[in-house]
């Protein structure tokens, strides 16, 4: 199958094609899934090298399970987010003993504020604030408001109820609003 014809094929069908030896399917899945998983892992861990390790491990697990994948039982993205979440949790537990105050500070843009775009400053500030949230709140907020997943899918990824997802995202957003509110002028929000 031609590579450009893959855009209409679902992730699940691509995975079956991959298991049948289709090399275009491997390439298409890689291009489609890796940026999303990498970005999510990076936001969860706030460390690019760790995020790459987690992404690679998650994808290896996907390639290995491909021959046993049964269509209709789960979405590939849901499965992958779940594996990624578990891998991130494992890594975060290893550093949990460190003081919460050791979490990366919100980027201090005082020296470089004029050199970077406002969007970059906002993204950095948000990442810094996200790193200060409890892990489950951070994960729920990321999946809902940045990855764009619906609450039932997030519930499946996190293995909790939809109500619990709503509670986590609400608390997470409230914390972010407080943390980032202190830097509103710096972020270009003047009309508070």
């Amino acid at each position: 199958m031609a590579f450009d014809a893959m855009s209409q094929v679902s992730d699940e069908a691509l995975l079956v094609l991959y298991a049948n030896g289709d090399q275009n399917a491997a390439r298409s899945l890689t291009l489609r899934l890796v940026p999303r998983i990498m970005a999510h892992a990076h936001r969860m861990l706030n460390d690019r090298a760790e995020a790459e390790d987690v992404t690679q491990e998650a994808l290896i697990r996907l390639w290995k399970i491909a021959p046993e994948w049964r269509q209709g039982e789960a979405k590939v993205t849901t499965w992958l987010y779940r594996v990624t979440a578990n891998l991130c949790t494992d890594r975060l537990r290893k550093v949990r003993h460190s003081d919460i105050e050791d979490a990366p500070e919100i980027a201090d843009g005082a020296a470089s504020a004029e050199q970077i775009l406002i969007a970059q400053a906002r993204a950095q500030a948000l990442n810094g604030a996200l790193a200060r949230l409890p892990e489950r709140q951070r994960q729920a907020v990321l999946l809902r408001h940045i990855e764009g997943l619906q609450n039932p899918e997030i519930a499946e990824v996190m293995d909790i109820s939809v109500e619990a997802v709503e509670s986590l995202t609400a608390r997470g957003k409230r914390s972010l609003a407080q943390l980032l509110g202190k830097r509103r002028a710096e972020l270009g929000f003047y009309d508070g």
């Binding site: 090399q23 990442n127 957003k173 409230r174 609003a177």
Partner: protein, 128 residues
């Protein structure tokens, strides 16, 4: 006023949403090297198409000629059946039954009728 906003300085939902959008736009993109590494994993772990010839079992490369003959004849069950047939043929050849000798003579002289040896066959109509 946003109902989730608890203090004047807190960001509103709309302001938070703008930050989420900015974060999405600034998502850390995987490098080309990293993508190549993932693709190499995918190719290394990819099952091969089923059109490939089935691998030859190692046993077939090392078995003795007798074992190969045995396998060709259907294993031990086929071999024992063949041995039984050979023994039976030998016994019949050495000690032929009288009836068989009579039938053989009849065949050779053109006088024997098969119906003589199959009771009731003569009463069966073959007219369709």
């Amino acid at each position: 006023m946003d109902k989730n906003r608890t203090a004047k300085s807190d960001l509103s939902d709309a302001e938070l949403e703008r930050l989420f959008q900015a974060s999405d736009a600034e998502a850390s993109l995987p490098s080309g090297d990293f993508m190549a590494r993932i693709l190499a994993d995918a190719q290394a772990l990819q099952p091969q198409p089923s059109l490939a010839p089935a691998p030859v079992p190692p046993r077939a490369l090392t078995q003795s000629p007798f074992a190969a003959l045995r396998e060709a004849l259907g294993g031990w069950r086929g071999l024992s059946g063949l041995a039984g047939a050979v023994a039976t043929g030998l016994v019949i050849g050495v000690f032929p039954p009288e009836a068989l000798a009579t039938y053989a003579d009849g065949l050779l002289n053109g006088e024997a009728l098969f119906s003589e040896y199959v009771p009731g066959l003569g009463e069966v109509s073959f007219d369709g």
